[in-house]
């Protein structure tokens, strides 16, 4: 069972107790959200990198860029 530390700032007493079911549920939900956010950020970076690489290769080869690829190079 996961533990939590609670400090009573008025007395300076610190106690350790088991997590409640509600706390466990809330933590699991936040964990799932954190994972989703993390995956989304990494996928966006990978997609952006792929577009830039493709744009760079097309520029070198002298072939037309797509609108999306051009947008990675021109503000």
């Amino acid at each position: 069972m996961s533990k939590v530390i609670e400090i009573d700032c008025s007395t300076g007493v610190s106690v350790e107790r088991d997590m409640t079911e509600a706390e466990l549920t809330a933590q699991a939900a936040m964990q799932a959200q954190a994972e989703a956010d993390r995956a989304e950020a990494e996928e966006a970076k990978a997609a952006s990198d792929a577009l830039k690489a493709s744009a760079r290769a097309k520029l070198v080869a002298g072939t037309p860029l797509t609108e999306e690829e051009a947008a990675t190079l021109v503000l």
């Binding site: 939590v4 530390i5 400090i7 700032c9 008025s10 933590q27 959200q33 956010d37 970076k45």
Partner: protein, 167 residues
């Protein structure tokens, strides 16, 4: 700035650290912590905070950078704060975070600014974050929790609460 309490996690680890009965006599609060989680699934932890025993009605806006992996900004619900280190990082490295919560006794919504970094003593696995967290509550803050979203805060993670009075 006056120290209120410092808690260092013991050998068993804990999922969260909560400061209860926070004195209502200061103007602002500051939480500083050095944290590492036992999570083995990710190279950076994304902890979150609760005030007054709940994360309801909270949201965050982040600027983040994990060099060579991802850089950007996003908004999400929940009181997510900055990155902390995990068990996948180099041994004995801990992330550092600073949370500043102004006007914590006011009847306005509670907004805090958080800067946080995970550390790994390597050229990768380092994350940097600057986060704005908003709790839509008009109640004074009497309780503040820092919660690991995966695994436990490991031994020697240290959490300090300070009170700041306007000059």
């Amino acid at each position: 700035m006056q120290p209120i309490y410092t808690q260092t996690v013991g050998s068993g680890g804990v999922s969260s650290v909560t400061f209860n009965n926070i004195p209502q006599t200061f103007t602002d609060l500051k939480v500083v912590f050095s944290g590492r989680t036992s999570d083995t699934g990710n190279d950076r932890a994304v902890p979150f905070v609760w005030i007054n025993g709940t994360g309801d009605n909270s949201s965050n806006t982040r600027l983040y950078s994990i060099p060579n992996v991802a850089t950007g900004s996003d908004r999400a619900s929940g009181g997510f704060i900055g990155y902390a280190s995990t068990a996948t990082n180099t041994a004995n490295t801990f992330g550092s975070q600073e949370i500043y919560l102004p006007n914590y006794t006011s009847a306005n919504f509670k907004q805090m600014i958080v800067d946080g970094v995970s550390e790994s003593n390597s050229t990768t696995q380092v994350g940097l974050t600057l986060v704005s967290v908003l709790f839509r509550t008009t109640s004074a803050v009497s309780s503040f929790s820092i919660i690991s979203s995966a695994g436990n805060w490991v031994q020697y993670s240290t959490f300090s609460l300070y009170g700041i009075t306007k000059g």
